[in-house]
Symmetry: C2
């Protein structure tokens, strides 16, 4: 088709073999740094490779070798800082190894999940990290039936045998609640994330446990369900603050909702933390930028990505992994958005 100077025809291992006066097998041995090649031969072949700039064809290598050297990373969305930080952790860890990173965004739709599942389960990737907080039984069972090395992140697995990275969501919920109680609060509103997500339920459980420990009543009407978005935090806060006896503190199941809640309170003329204390969850970058700076429960997102990458790489390499389920610790980060109740009593 193309007129003009002919681009050098694509080099193959056969070309290298010919130039070197050796067989394809020998070139392959050199490429893969295998034994049984005489030093002189090896050097000769290496020189030719260097000189010609030969690079093995990725698909051919994968097909013949039975592995792709590709790690799949499945995330629901790129729009939240949560996914992004995890991705960073994975990418960083993967960079050193001889692995490429394939990014799939499912958008939470079942259809997309299915589509991606096809791609991965049979081939295409050597291993997979799935960041999929939503409970999704059929999804998981399909995954499990495949024998692809697979690590779930923050997915309250039905099957405890699946390798996974989790965080102490319940303890985080408990800690946040206990902290607010320690400041003297007894009327604590809770803006949950989508309760279809395992993490949301766990945080809610932690909240309940916290109340229980200090003999505070669990009040159904103090709990509203959001969807992790700022807007839902805003709505949730308004709803809670319009109760006959509104809470004096709000615990939001992530930072975005907390920031939405802060906006709602501001609009309602409530001072933070003067009138109402707010605590979030995640410690996303926004938390420390908010005004006032947001007290929150940190999830080690970056580290979750790293751990997942390490684990899946071990699984790929067939290493026996000691702990298939890794639970990372959440941590209370105290900033400026919570205050003692006594100080705010009118």
């Amino acid at each position: 088709m193309q007129v003009g100077v002919m681009k050098q025809t694509k080099l193959t291992i056969a070309d290298i073999a010919r130039k070197g006066g050796v067989s394809k097998a020998t070139v392959s041995r050199v490429l893969n740094n295998r034994p049984y090649v005489e030093k002189a031969t090896r050097n000769k072949v290496l020189a030719i490779i260097e000189e010609t700039g030969f690079v093995p064809h990725h698909s051919a290598t994968s097909l013949a070798g039975g592995k792709t050297n590709i790690l799949g990373l499945l995330v629901p969305s790129l729009a939240n800082p949560y996914s992004l930080t995890v991705i960073q952790g994975v990418a960083e860890k993967v960079a050193g190894k001889n692995l490429d990173l394939m990014l799939y965004t499912t958008g939470l739709s079942e259809k997309n999940q299915k589509k991606f599942l096809e791609r991965l389960s049979k081939n295409a990737v050597d291993g997979l990290i799935v960041l999929l907080p939503r409970e999704s039984t059929n999804f998981e069972s399909e995954l499990f039936s495949s024998d692809l090395p697979l690590v779930l992140i923050d997915h309250r697995s039905i099957n405890a045998d699946l390798p996974s990275i989790a965080v102490t969501n319940e303890k985080g919920g408990f800690d946040a609640t206990e902290y607010l109680i320690s400041l003297g609060h007894t009327k604590i509103g809770f803006i949950a994330g989508l309760l279809a997500f395992g993490c949301s339920v766990e945080r809610l459980d932690g909240y309940k446990k916290g109340l229980e420990k200090y003999n505070l009543p669990f009040c159904e009407e103090y709990v509203v369900e959001g969807d992790f978005t700022e807007a839902s935090g805003y709505r949730g806060a308004k709803e809670l603050m319009l109760l006959p006896t509104p809470p004096t503190a709000l615990f939001c199941s992530n930072d975005d909702m907390a920031i939405g809640a802060m906006q709602a309170l501001e609009e309602m003329g409530k001072r933070i933390p003067g009138d109402v204390s707010i605590i979030g969850f995640d410690d996303s970058p926004r938390a420390s930028l908010a005004f006032p700076r947001l007290t929150t429960i940190r999830q080690p997102l970056y580290q979750m990505g790293e751990s997942a990458a390490n684990l899946v790489v071990d699984l790929i390499n067939g290493k026996s992994v000691a702990k298939k389920c890794i639970v990372l610790k959440t941590e209370l980060i105290v900033r400026d958005s919570c205050a003692e109740l006594s100080k705010v009593k009118k």
Copy 2:
């Protein structure tokens, strides 16, 4: 190795052919939705595929078909909101098409660039989007010599023939400067990004043009070079404010540096915008969260990603593209971090 129930041996097209009593060729035609298959035959094959859950082997398809259906996306780092937003735009556009997204992070090191170059240039991906603001002559020439569909983002290309997505960096720099001048500022400090980056130079040029238009002197000591990090903005601001006649306004070449500068000013007891006006560049998510909310020059990062994806897909499909170099517009976003000079005169 594995004891127990034998996992179904990996299905191949040959298995499907056998079950259907047809040839591999026919199955392939069905899979690829090609003509010359009788309706009855097609349905029979489709039924078997459905029933067995057969999925073609990706590497085999790529090898035989000569295309990978993978789009490569090369970014220097995931740590800045800049890259992330572009990635979102690309990912979103790609999701609809039958393309997978391979993410490479080079970390700005020449060595990594080289490494990735090998992967991509010969095979591995069908097309590539490169987000590589650094000037890098040899890098670019290598890219150019390859015949891979390729789109550069925000890379002041030496070779104008390369398909690229750019923004009006110079105009953005000019607009920011003009805006500050319109507020009465005449002593305007400039914290540049790394001047090895094309965009940094262009913004600096815009700054100079702005001064020139209003007959203000360009003062060498009012310009410091940062590296796009918050820390460098902090340092740059301190340096500028300690000058004998410090500027009354700071133009920072990105938002992160602007936020660093705000911190420095706060520490020095300067009020923003009361004592010093600050304007950034990017309109990253942080800009609107900062206190005071940061006035800035918006880059349409998401749209840049989208445009790049569209362009590279067209190139892959061999469509004749009308405009190989797309320049997107920057936009002044006025918020709260700049004020009129007259009002702040002591």
